[in-house]
């Protein structure tokens, strides 16, 4: 289930992604690869072997592509070790079917975020030649 992304693109957290095509490009819709507990149905991200609530076995679960913004902020100073250049937006997105909220970058080509707005999970550029998952408005 690990993402295989061609084109020389280095993908941060590649094993967290479920690409919808063989070689997704920047801006293309993707899905996140989480896990679901066989016993209590709880969804966790990133993936783990054992459920933190009931210790049941966790199986891979692809998260819906669309979610809604539950919170957002902006990073204005360069954090140590980050490849992305500030300023950039970060959001936490709620996925209704899974009952989980996941933090990620906001795609810089989208509109200004607001609480409750719908987003799609996409591949976003972190730096030239480097990508990870993120969220785009609309």
């Amino acid at each position: 289930m690990t993402a295989s992304i061609d084109g020389g693109l280095r993908v941060l957290g590649a094993d967290l992604l479920a690409p919808t095509s063989a070689s997704p490009a920047i801006g293309e819709a993707i899905q996140l690869l989480a896990c679901r507990c066989a016993d209590c149905s709880r969804v966790e991200f990133p993936r783990r072997d054992r459920c933190p609530a009931c210790s049941g076995a966790m199986f891979p679960h692809v998260v819906a592509s669309e979610g809604s913004i539950r919170g957002f902020t902006q990073v204005t100073a360069a954090p140590p070790g980050a490849l992305i250049a500030p300023p950039y937006h970060v959001a936490i997105v709620a996925f209704a079917d899974e009952g989980i909220s996941i933090m990620g970058l906001l795609s810089p080509d989208g509109a200004e975020p607001w609480l409750g707005c719908l987003v799609t999970t996409v591949l976003v550029e972190v730096a030239p030649g480097v990508a990870t998952y993120g969220f785009r408005l609309g």
């Binding site: 941060l12 957290g13 967290l16 709880r42 966790e44 991200f45 990133p46 933190p52 609530a53 539950r70 919170g71 957002f72 902020t73 902006q74 990073v75 204005t76 100073a77 954090p79 140590p80 070790g81 980050a82 490849l83 992305i84 500030p86 950039y88 970060v90 936490i92 709620a94 996925f95 009952g99 989980i100 909220s101 996941i102 933090m103 990620g104 970058l105 609480l115 972190v126 480097v130 990870t132």
Partner: protein, 381 residues
């Protein structure tokens, strides 16, 4: 818990210094030991909290002071590290395995964002390994779900800086205005630079002793540890460095630690006379009001606006200046809170003395999902 006495406290100011962490730790330790009237070879155990220094840090601090040949251990639980020392020491004394334990917290943190907070490499490279993001999202949620405003966030910082004016151990002692806080650089909106604490350097130390041992030696056993509780992550807690949470069922580490601590001490929030809480940022202090039971959910800003948490109010919070004014030497911050509570409970806090202080609470919370609540009682005879 009522047989563990705080026999001595010591502190090295919080700030930036041309001293090693070993020297700062030694200065705080010597002060606490002098207050307790103890020689190092009269201790049963030394336990040292530190996050970022080398191996065997406590042993290296002690090497500057004495070679008592007793067990020395180092504990780490991020910003809750020094609460871990109290937790260990209190249980050893309560269990009868120790009469006197020296707890030291010390840190010499680099400037800027706190690194190595447990983030995965992909989070760091993607720019998601940034602790203020978590505080900003929490603050935004508070503003959305309650009547709190950005002005209230600014006023927490104004209050704590006002308290720090008389605290010679604080890094930032100049008063700030609401306008200055709001106009300072945006770090992670809605949080500005002056709404966030700065990691820095410093040390604090506490000597815990069995009450009968203090009395046998003719010392002062009037300040007692009534509770110290330490909690880690439950399934639905959310904090640094986790990239996700369960949307509908998020729980609070702080609330759980507080409930356990009140239960152990046999008192409730209304019995408290003052609180030192983890004001990593202004929003965290307001959330702590609710989680520690100082107000109902939704009344956080009202408590602040009424002046209840200001010195002279019903339940003053962070009269030391808090982390917003003192800065946060990670391994030392919790014992720094104890230092302030002990001064207050002895009636020795000078211009920032809380009148008739009997019960004080200290709260820390750290990366990796750690929280601790400690309750002290003064004036015990």
């Amino acid at each position: 818990m009522d047989r563990v006495a705080v026999a001595g406290v010591g502190i090295h100011p919080f700030g930036r210094f041309d001293r090693s962490y070993r020297q700062m730790g030694a200065i705080a330790a010597d002060e606490a030991m002098a207050e307790a009237g103890l020689a190092y070879d009269e201790l049963d155990f030394v336990v040292v909290a530190n996050v970022g220094a080398e191996m065997a840090k406590g042993q290296n601090v002690l090497e500057l002071l004495a070679r008592p040949g007793i067990p020395v251990l180092n504990v780490e639980a991020a910003c809750a590290s020094s609460a871990g020392t109290l937790w260990m020491a209190a249980q050893m004394i309560e269990g009868g395995r120790a009469k006197a334990v020296l707890c030291i917290g010390v840190e010499k943190a680099p400037r800027g964002f706190i690194g190595a907070a447990g983030f995965e490499q992909w989070q760091i490279e993607a720019g998601l390994g940034v602790t203020p993001i978590y505080f900003a999202l929490q603050a935004q949620e508070l503003l959305e779900q309650t009547d709190a405003t950005v002005e209230d966030l600014a006023d927490v910082s104004v209050k704590n800086h006002g308290h720090a004016a008389s605290n010679a151990n604080a890094m930032y002692r100049a008063p700030v205005s609401r306008e200055q806080v709001l106009a300072s650089r945006q770090v992670c909106p809605p949080l500005t630079l002056l709404m966030l604490c700065a990691p820095n350097e410093g040390a604090a130390a506490v000597v815990l002793m069995a009450d009968d041992e203090v009395e046998r030696r003719g010392g002062d056993a009037s300040v007692r540890l009534r509770s110290v509780r330490l909690v880690s992550r439950s399934p639905d807690d959310w904090f640094v460095p986790s990239p996700s949470f369960q949307t509908g069922s998020r729980t609070s580490l702080t609330a759980r630690a507080a409930a356990e601590a009140f239960d152990e001490a046999g008192i409730g929030p209304d019995d408290l006379d003052l609180v030192e809480c983890q004001d990593t940022d202004s929003g965290s202090e307001l959330v702590a009001y609710r989680d520690l039971g100082l107000c109902k959910p939704g009344d956080e800003a009202a408590l602040l606006r009424a002046g209840d948490t200001t010195l002279g109010g019903r339940i003053p919070v962070n009269v030391s200046g808090g982390l917003l004014s003192k800065g946060e030497p990670l391994g030392a911050s919790g014992l720094g809170q104890l230092h302030e509570l002990v001064l207050q409970l002895r009636g020795a806090a000078g211009p920032r003395q809380v009148d008739n202080a009997r019960f004080g609470l200290a709260h820390v919370m750290g990366a990796g999902h750690n929280a601790s609540v400690t309750i002290l009682e003064g004036g015990v005879r």
